[in-house]
């Protein structure tokens, strides 16, 4: 009985963790390349969820195509916020200003969505939500299977992109040394834009994947973003592998805290882990450290 529960909670945790990874990866990518935090990232998630909802309900092509639509909507938002906020502020070379600006954008987006979509939660039902696989006391809904599969595929695709394509390598180069990347013939501005688009596309897609899980209101993304920040730090800012690992860990913490402690304590446990991480390994789970040159 207990092993079943532990196993079941592991599955629950991994499902949730893979969703967090999708959201946190975007934050990490942006941080890696720009050393900036985008607070509006959460609202891209929400927007992606709504895009998927309305596409499903107005166009009626089913859930899977709606994920693609959410991805595109997220990408477009990423492009927009990069062009309107980060590009003009990059010249000011200040780490605070873009952060505050994105808080402003976040307030604006949330309330615009509130005006358009209203506060009453949308029931996001997909054709997979109600089908449950049961095996030896373990249950998984098809929706969750899709979440795991799509997340794993996305992460794999992203990995292939970063590892094996020229653009992906260029992107990593830009995050390590923007100036030298320029010497290679790489246009850093283009790649920063690309990073934003990819990160936001992930957020949008994350939204579509989260939509059946989330309580879908204009404030839905906010509930995820604080944890996403924790994941990004636990994984090490700008570190993709660390973020994936940390995302899964936080997902597991959430399910095991629920099982053995109390769901009210989830945030305390997650952020205690965060502070512990910062105390013992300030650069994250998988460390990349450089000496300061004086």
């Amino acid at each position: 009985m207990t092993t079943t529960i532990v196993l079941q909670q592991a599955i629950n945790g991994i499902v949730l963790g893979s969703l967090y990874v999708l959201v946190a990866l975007g934050l990490t990518l942006i941080y890696g390349v720009l050393v900036q935090i985008n607070f509006a990232h959460a609202d891209f998630v929400t927007l992606g969820a709504f895009a998927a909802y309305f596409f499903m309900h107005l166009v009626g092509l089913g859930y899977i195509p709606s994920i693609a639509v959410a991805l595109i909507v997220g990408a477009a938002m990423g492009w927009l916020i990069n062009a309107s906020i980060f590009t003009p502020l990059r010249r000011k070379n200040n780490e605070l200003l873009p952060l505050i600006a994105t808080i402003g954008v976040s307030v604006m987006m949330q309330n615009l969505m509130l005006a358009w979509f209203g506060p009453i939660p949308y029931a996001f039902e997909t054709e997979f939500s109600r089908h449950v696989i049961r095996f030896a006391g373990i249950f998984v809904s098809w929706q969750n299977v899709i979440i795991i599969v799509v997340s794993a595929l996305t992460i794999a695709l992203l990995y292939v992109f970063m590892k094996f394509t020229f653009l992906g390598k260029a992107l990593r180069a830009v995050s390590q040394d923007r100036e030298t990347a320029g010497l290679m013939g790489i246009n850093p501005n283009f790649l920063i834009m690309l990073t934003f688009v990819i990160a936001s596309a992930l957020a949008g897609m994350g939204g579509a994947m989260l939509a059946p899980v989330l309580v879908l209101t204009p404030f839905a993304g906010t509930s995820v973003i604080v944890k996403a920040f924790a994941i990004v730090i636990i994984g090490g800012f700008g570190n993709v592998e660390g973020t994936i690992l940390a995302g899964l860990i936080v997902g597991l913490i959430e399910s095991y805290t629920t099982q053995f402690l109390n769901p009210g304590l989830i945030d305390i446990v997650v952020f205690a882990l965060l502070l512990l991480m910062l105390a013992i390994r300030p650069t994250g789970l998988i460390s990349e450290r450089r000496e300061e040159n004086v």
Partner: protein, 243 residues
Amino acid sequence: MSALLEIAGLELAYGQVAVCRNISLRLDRGEIVALIGANGAGKSTTLRAIAGLLSPRRGTIAFGGRDVTALPSYERSKLGIALVPEGRRVFPFLTVRENLELGGFNSRKDPSTLKRRMERVFAMFPRLSERSSQNAGTLSGGEQQMLALGRAMMSEPQLLCLDEPSLGLAPIIVHDIFQTIRAINAAGTSILLVEQNARHAFETAQRGYVLQTGSVIASGSCATLKRDPRVQEAYLGRTATRR
């Protein structure tokens, strides 16, 4: 011979602090030209301006007869300017092979050319081939310098700018590096060299420009420069003669 690089009246500054006041120089196709001077004279800054990392306050940079003053670094790279920056600046968390591939970013759509170039670089520096799947950050100083040089060569530039290639390297390695530099030049690449090691600079280059506090104070063939007292002064300070 025609001028590959022609710089006129360059004034460069970081923020409000002027570093170079009036730099004019010229480099012909096939030449190795050395820029020499004491620390802080503005040598590296001049190279950065040539590569497009710093836009000048005043003055022009022409490359292959075309005014490139306003072009960003990645556009200049496409025209055939490559810079091996001070401190090598390899991408530490990319493998050696990935570093090299990025060096050939401009030819990314032509895999066969890239393959040929990479083989050439590996032939030049067999050590790199042995370590091709290692992260560049784990290489020794000398190996990083080889990588930086190889990476620059991956674009088969017309002009290769080298910023202190001997910095912090053991003599044997420095020797090797300079041999390679000469070989690269012999194969047709023009080279602009900033070097603190006077012997190597003068042994390698045909002509030189001497910089002092941001201005060119002497120029000419290396043979004549070697004997010019102003060179010793600019390079090493007025020597102990005054005592």
